[in-house]
Symmetry: C2
Subunit: 140 residues, 2 copies
DNA sequence: ACTGTAACTGAGATTAAATTGCAATATGGA
DNA sequence: TCCATATTGCAATTTAATCTCAGTTACAGT
């Protein structure tokens, strides 16, 4: 489970599992969608948490490092993150008009990428593919 | 040629081709690699240009809009751009250790993406694929 | 070539995301 | 329980990027 994974990671690094870190991870796990640090902070505040903005910003890199979340895009001038789902990686289509995000997954694409990496003697760890364009509703 | 394309774009939009805009585009065309706004600004200054930081930041979105450059990644907290090469689009592998950027191009990948878009009724305009991992030298 | 006007510029102030310093506090192994 | 050390909140700070505004410039129409 994610919390266990985080706990182990912290212990290994000689770090501590604090109430704040637990609350932050919990909120991320509970959320379904993308989030940005500020949004996460506000959510926690709304729920009565005393966590500070600084702690949110300090915890996020740890969660990225342990592989529980990843940075998925930058909107305007701030970063957006997303929980890495246990079962499978996915990529994004982003509508340039309405901002709608369509998630998709293609095994063929995954395989193809492994092939490309091999050819370049590159050890791929993760990737992100973003297709920008127009969704069905916004036509084109 | 790129400068002509930019000139036409500006005219169409009722904008003007100023000395500053010309200098900025010129410097980008002369450069081979990625660049970030600050770096571009310093290069221009070094070469004796009087262009201001603000003009650099104001010109970049225009060049993105006309399709001469694109944002390729964010390093730390600032954007990086790159001239779009005339002949063909390419994607990137980025070494998480030394930062080396390997450019690659796969027609199969391009085709596959068109298929994926079709399936979602999404009109793809452009895409960016980044594979993060470790280059040959940095092992794995 | 001249003119009017709207676009453009530089300099510095401003914004807002993200980071940091510090004194107080909490965690977890011994 | 004790205690070294990591962590916290707060507020100050940093920094990429944007904005303001008064003076300047490009260029379409004469």
């Amino acid at each position: 489970m994610e919390k266990q994974k985080f706990r182990e990671f912290l212990t290994t690094k000689g770090l501590k599992l604090t109430k704040e870190r637990d609350e932050i991870l919990h909120e991320i796990l509970v959320m379904k969608k993308h989030f940005d640090p500020e949004e996460l902070f506000v959510r926690l505040k709304t729920k009565g948490s005393k966590v500070s903005r600084a702690s949110v910003y300090r915890t996020i890199p740890l969660l990225v490092e342990v592989g529980l979340i990843e940075e998925v895009e930058r909107i305007d001038r701030h970063a957006h993150y997303e929980k890495i789902s246990e079962d499978r990686h996915h990529d994004h289509m982003i509508c340039m008009k309405c901002g709608k995000v369509i998630e998709f997954y293609s095994p063929t694409l995954e395989m193809l990428q492994r092939e490309i990496c091999q050819k370049e003697n590159f050890k791929g760890v993760r990737h992100s593919l973003e297709i920008l364009g127009y969704c069905e509703k916004c036509g084109g």
